[in-house]
Amino acid sequence: MAHCELASKPLLQCLRKTYSRGVAGVQLQTRAFQSTASVREAEAETPSQPFHKAPDPSLVTSPRLERRLLRQGTAPIGSRRRRAALQDSENIPFEQLPYQCFQEARKILLADREEKLKEIETMRQRLARQEALSVEEAGGAKAKKSRVTAMQLHLERLKVLADINDPLVKRKFEDNQGDMSKPIYRFLADRKWREYRRKILVQRITQMKVIPDVLPHCDPVVETKLHFGKRQVQAGEFVEAKLSTSAPKLDLQMFEGGQKLVTIAVVDPDVPNVEKDNFDYKTHFLAVNVPISATSTKVDLAQLLEDSQVVFPWLPPVAQMGSPYHRLSLFIMEQKDSQPLDFAAVKAKETSRDTTLLRTLQSRYHLKAIGAHLFRTQWDDTTLEVMKEIGFDGANVELRRKRVEPLPYKRRNPSSFR
């Protein structure tokens, strides 16, 4: 017997006594907090093989079996002491752990949840009654609409409040097992996103001046992640030209219920124009009528439909030698009332990548920016190859800054000094 088993023996014995007395009766009546299944239920199946043949990584204690597990590639879970303790303990679900203060606290929380559920029910009925009223009875369309919206907001709030004190919800969310179709998990995810990652994103797109350059304003409410192949690109990161030859994959996490149709555009505001001594815009990608929802988040820009979604297919971004870095800004634009745009009309209207401005699109199709992302590209070793591949003219050109003659009083050694 190992050290730890000896050490945990008396503790286990005393625990076992407590459990066998207290818990069996509690089992059924305390299930009510969660409608979802208990955490431990999966472990109930009986093993067909003896333990030493197929050791469980969460229960194994003897060093020999541990070593064998490690050789097989699975690391044992937790400390050896913990595993030894788990071997002999009954798997009591978390919410039934016999701690007095904890159980008292759960009683309070459960009572509160019951109350909230009742409130939700009454609120639903009131909302239905309000919606059933005719416009004259409600005192005008505007008043009715504002009242209904307020009620819906309150209802959403109540739904979140009913579950926010549940420790199992918290645990599931921390394990990233939250079900995004439920309002509570969406709320928690939104809060977490706004705590740090959204701030970073907003900082990047404002500091790199994407916001006034491409669009006048954007308030991101959709979390956007960008992958080239398997590599995730942080907002504002430099991406090798070779990597960005194929269209990226997006992960658009909405935090509201329902489905939305969005327009996705990738715009480069930094194309050097030598004649005008200025920079031009270029649309590297444009797709309309892309459905997103809180549960279906993955959008592969290469997999979108050619005949009903993609207006401009992906054009690999390249930066000419000597030009300053290019900001490739990606915008997720919500279409008005989630109505699909007429694809054929859009395709007919937007013909050139160079003349399509995102501001124009926004006002023409009544779009609203709900998400943004950004990556940068600059001249690197692979750019020339990519340029040849896509037939970029001007691959052999190196841009130089025009030498600006300093003003006389700023010259290092003007004649007046001599």
Partner: protein, 237 residues
């Protein structure tokens, strides 16, 4: 002149700090004093205990069991004294002036060539006490225990909020019933509201015994302007 003044002020600051330490939270030599009062038999046991283990010693220290020879955690005042007095050289007036700048934690002269890195004394002290073996370890919870703690915390907050709400509602109810009673008196008594007007008259209230100006919130310290000797009771000339 100015520089000398700064020097004096900085040394005064130093003095204040040491004085604070001397009156600090952990009194100096507590263990030894208690030990002196003990009978010899206890002394003997403590000495044997000392040889047992440092864990026992630290437990004894936590539970304030006197142990004379045990590795008592060094008192803050002594350590502070030693560290603060361990100055390599008296700082010149310029350095002193720079060091007394209110928001700087390092001296500006530390960047000069030829001098080694100057470590702040306060950091030394913090590190010393933080990593001392007798400092209790930080409070860490396992995941389940943390979740239980969180549950209890949330329930307590919820309970407090419910209590607050109940109290507020009770106050509101009382206020409104009082208001209703007044309204009833004004309109329903049948005397044109005379009774109400008379009862609302504030004459003679808080003027017969002591003036209302004397009533003030209980505070820890006296008011900043002290006593107002010119104050007269409003009715008096």
């Amino acid at each position: 002149m100015h520089a000398a003044g700064m020097l004096i002020s900085s040394s005064a600051r130093l003095n204040r700090r040491t004085r604070f330490c001397r009156q600090g939270i952990i009194p100096t030599g507590r263990g030894t004093q208690l030990h002196r009062a003990l009978p010899t038999s206890t002394q003997h046991t403590t000495i044997t205990m000392k040889s047992l283990s440092p864990a026992l010693a630290s437990l004894a220290n936590v539970f304030k069991i006197p142990m004379s020879m045990a590795p008592v955690r060094p008192s803050i005042s002594r350590a502070c004294h030693e560290t603060l007095n361990r100055q390599t050289q008296q700082p010149g007036p310029v350095t002193a002036a720079l060091q007394s700048a209110p928001f700087s934690t390092t001296s500006a002269m530390a960047a000069r060539k030829g001098k080694g890195p100057v470590v702040d004394k306060r950091i030394t002290l913090i590190r010393y006490f933080l990593h001392h073996p007798l400092t209790p370890r930080p409070l860490r919870f396992s995941r389940n225990r943390y979740l239980r703690h969180w549950t209890i915390h949330r329930a307590w907050q919820l309970f407090r909020a419910q209590q607050r709400r109940k109290h507020e509602l009770e106050m509101m109810r009382q206020y409104q019933s009082m208001q209703d009673a007044c309204e009833e008196l004004r309109t329903g008594a049948g005397d044109g509201g005379k009774l109400f007007r008379v009862s609302m008259n504030k004459k003679g209230i808080f003027t017969d015994m002591f003036p209302i100006e004397y009533a003030r919130m209980q505070t820890d310290s006296p008011p900043s302007e002290g006593w107002n000797y010119d104050w007269k009771r409003p009715g008096q000339k």
